[in-house]
């Protein structure tokens, strides 16, 4: 099947280390700016949206495993990160990151993260998992809540903020990518309508495309272009990707 093959093109494989490194570095930028959030799944979400469920899952899993070299206790969360990567990849593949459905997708991801982190936290560490948030859990328990409720409430608040940002940042970046560049990633064609009227903004009237299928610019991977859904994708020539 074409999608399975594309998922393992060189481009998408290389998304994995990039995603892992982004998880790590964005987490440390958030720390450098003294922001009270983790933001350590932006890379996973980005890799999953661009590369699909398998790439996303591996990025999440390997990402947490490599963070464990510096914070060994984090290893128990690798399963959660892997599942999030897979689900984000699937949602992206079915076009659930287009238009207003992004909100629904974000809520699904938040819900899933809360569920998984609550299960892991209670099953492995009895609820107090040793992060700052467990202090709030203790306060809630003192106020009369039972442990599962306290864990779910605290994780829901934390994950809502963290995961919304982890979806919003990749979406903003992908929104700024040209179609030409997006097409090189396995999920690219599923993402193109994400931009507001791609091809009509800024470039004036779009020349009608000849009937010949658009061929990928990449010399690497001719299969990266699915011929059935790429016509008209060359409308936009503003290339924000190359300037930073």
């Amino acid at each position: 099947m074409a999608t399975a093959k594309r998922e393992f093109s060189m481009m998408s494989l290389l998304l994995i280390p990039i995603g892992i490194a982004l998880n790590f570095v964005l987490g440390s930028v958030a720390k450098a700016l003294n922001l009270p959030i983790f933001l350590d799944s932006v890379g996973t979400v980005l890799a999953a949206i661009l590369g699909g469920p398998i790439v996303g899952g591996i990025t999440g899993l390997l990402g947490v495993l490599s963070i464990s070299a510096f914070a060994p206790a984090a290893v128990v969360w690798s399963l959660q990160a892997g599942v999030i990567g897979i689900v984000v990849g699937l949602l992206a593949r079915f076009g659930w990151f287009r238009g207003s459905r992004v909100i629904l997708s974000t809520l699904i991801i938040v819900g899933l993260s809360v569920l998984l982190s609550a299960i892991i936290s209670i099953a492995v560490f009895g609820g107090f998992d040793g992060y700052g948030i467990s202090v709030i859990r203790a306060a809630l328990i003192e106020a009369g809540f039972n442990m599962p409720t306290a864990v779910v409430i605290t994780s829901a608040v934390a994950e809502l903020i963290d995961k919304s940002l982890s979806v919003a940042i990749p979406m903003l970046v992908i929104g700024g990518m040209s179609d030409r560049f997006l097409n090189k990633f396995p999920n690219g064609p599923h993402l193109r309508t994400l931009r507001p009227q791609a091809g009509t903004v800024g470039t004036g009237p779009v020349a009608p495309q000849p009937a010949t299928p658009v061929v990928s610019d990449s010399p690497l991977d001719q299969s990266a272009v699915d011929e059935t859904d790429t016509y008209g994708s060359y409308g936009s020539y503003d290339e924000p990707t190359s300037k930073s």
Partner: protein
Amino acid sequence: MANPVHRLNPLTQVFLVLAATIIGLFFGPIYWACFFLVALLVCALSGKVKGFLGVFLVGVLPMGLLMFVLQLFFSGDGRVLVDWWIFEATEGGLQNAIHFVSRLFTIATGVLLITQIADLQRFARDLEQRGVSPRATYVIQSTFLILPEMQKRAGTILDAQRARGIETDANLFVRAKAFLPAVAPLILSSLTGVEERAMSLEARGMTLSGPKTSLLHVEDSALDRALRVLAVLAVLAVIGWKVWLWTR
């Protein structure tokens, strides 16, 4: 490379540490203490004590302490040990505290040990010898190549944006606004880098099919195989023993 632990096949190292960690989940703090000492010894053999203790003291111990205090005062019941203000330490709480903290420490010790002693290059090469695709092992290896590079770039971008007048040390709202201009260029440039990297790998024959020759050969001796079997048997034995105790 001189000591016996380092000479082991990387997969054997992973098996042994994994087995020790899984078995540790069924036992309490005493097992952890022994495991920790053994781990320390192994790290000492390869001169990694500083890294081992450093990560443990910074990344694990504070979590353990917090967890201990919270479990002690906010969980369990039974005879009251200490009662002060809203804090009430019970016998059950103490038991919980010891149970969960020793579990955290066991997991952390295992992970820490393997991350300290494992040689990523040998591990990747070993996987290749076992038939794992070189593309897959490249992914694992390149992560650790890209990380420092990207961290440096993140610093550069943050400095550049500061020079352009973005506030990075005012109140929370201002700092939050600085986040996007700091990370967006990083993400975009990394993604552009993906293409360049893919091309250079392609140019170096990464995607060619056929046998590849490596300068590094990782031994997999009879001892390694025996140790791996032993590790698996030990885990099965402990699980079997626990199940037997439980059904009795």
